[in-house]
């Protein structure tokens, strides 16, 4: 994204009631907020709820389990650049096996499988920005 693209985005926001916009592409993330640029001097201690990282789907994939991102960050399929992905579609994984890395503020979070099962869906490409609670994998438990 070039500087003119960002300016255009800002202009577009000004013409609307939107107060916050997040744009993600190819691992780059831009977050625009309207209003004061000064944050609270002493942020209060906020307890973020623990993500329910593994939940049963309720619709057509009733038996599948979805691994969700416990944090906002960048999704990486391998532990180091250039290395093979930790898991591939169709792989059988064990409980405790590393599935991916979600990097948040240069902190590498290794997400492990909570069950033995087969990977039936991988929701994101390597390097994608993910939100809190966003699905990462679908696993068919064995």
């Amino acid at each position: 994204m070039e500087i003119n693209d960002i300016k255009e985005l800002i202009e577009l926001i000004k013409e609307t009631d939107i107060t916050e916009l997040r744009y993600e592409k190819d691992g780059m993330r831009i977050s625009l907020k309207r209003g004061s640029s000064t944050p609270p001097a002493d942020p209060p201690a906020v307890k973020v709820p623990v993500a329910e990282a593994l939940v049963k789907d309720t619709d057509e994939n009733v038996n599948y389990l979805t691994v969700k991102s416990p944090i906002v960050g960048t999704f990486y399929r391998s532990s180091t650049p250039g290395a093979a992905p930790l898991v591939e579609l169709g792989d059988t994984v064990r409980k405790g096996q590393a599935l991916c890395i979600v990097e948040a503020m240069k902190l590498m979070n290794e997400i492990e499988s909570e069950v033995n099962g087969v990977i039936v869906k991988i929701f994101h490409e390597n390097g994608t920005a993910v939100e809190y609670g966003e699905p990462l994998f679908q696993i068919n438990p064995l």
Partner: protein, 265 residues
Amino acid sequence: MNSLQLPCGIYDETLPEDLRPLREFSQASDASYSFVYYGSINSTNDTAKSGDYPAETVIIADAQVNGRGRFTRDWYSPPGVNISMSIALRPADDVPAAALSLLNTAASLAVSRALRAETGLDVWPKWPNDVYIGTRKTGGILSESIILGGRVLRLIIGIGINVNTPGFPAGLKDKATSLTLETGMTYSRGQLIASILREFDQCRRCAPGHVISEWTGMSKTIGSYVYVAGQCGIARALNEDGSLVIALENGEAVTSSGITIAPCH
């Protein structure tokens, strides 16, 4: 690969002399850490991750064969002169993954505090995971966690510090420094590690607002011009989740968390 475990302050001739202050530190009544020392290993973080170490274990290596920066950027560290350590923690069950960034911030604050106290140098934490003296990097934090079912099982805080490195290769000279290059003195790594751990114990138990406030006061990242996705701005504050608040020159505010920043003026 032989390791030397020091949970009870066991003395061993193989432990380098300047790391021996850790023996006394591990015996101190208020010390909660155990130590495992390696002469040479791939990386202390990898060892901490692969071994089933109890909480509060500190892995120390005299030399790292495969020491790495963020996402395997090279880290120049000759054997016997620098600090290569990883603190293995097991956070409480109710610690959310989103709170880990604050522990990372607390670690960079602790390292800055300790190095300031031990050397008198103006050491400062650079967002998000470096430690600087002036305009040169003297250390870095590389933290990793293991999360299962939304629970943080383990947190490993890797710390690398250029302590007694006498010089750097041509390509790094303008970017890196060491404590000894700054003062001309030789430092005891054991004493520095003990100081870092004492400070970390304090910092990680502080209220989030206090950690952020002290980090903000110490870091030259805050108030500096930065270049974010094609625009110039000024870093204004650190959020509790570790992201930076940046005021763009056009008056807009941007929260930066997943992009690289670089000076623009």
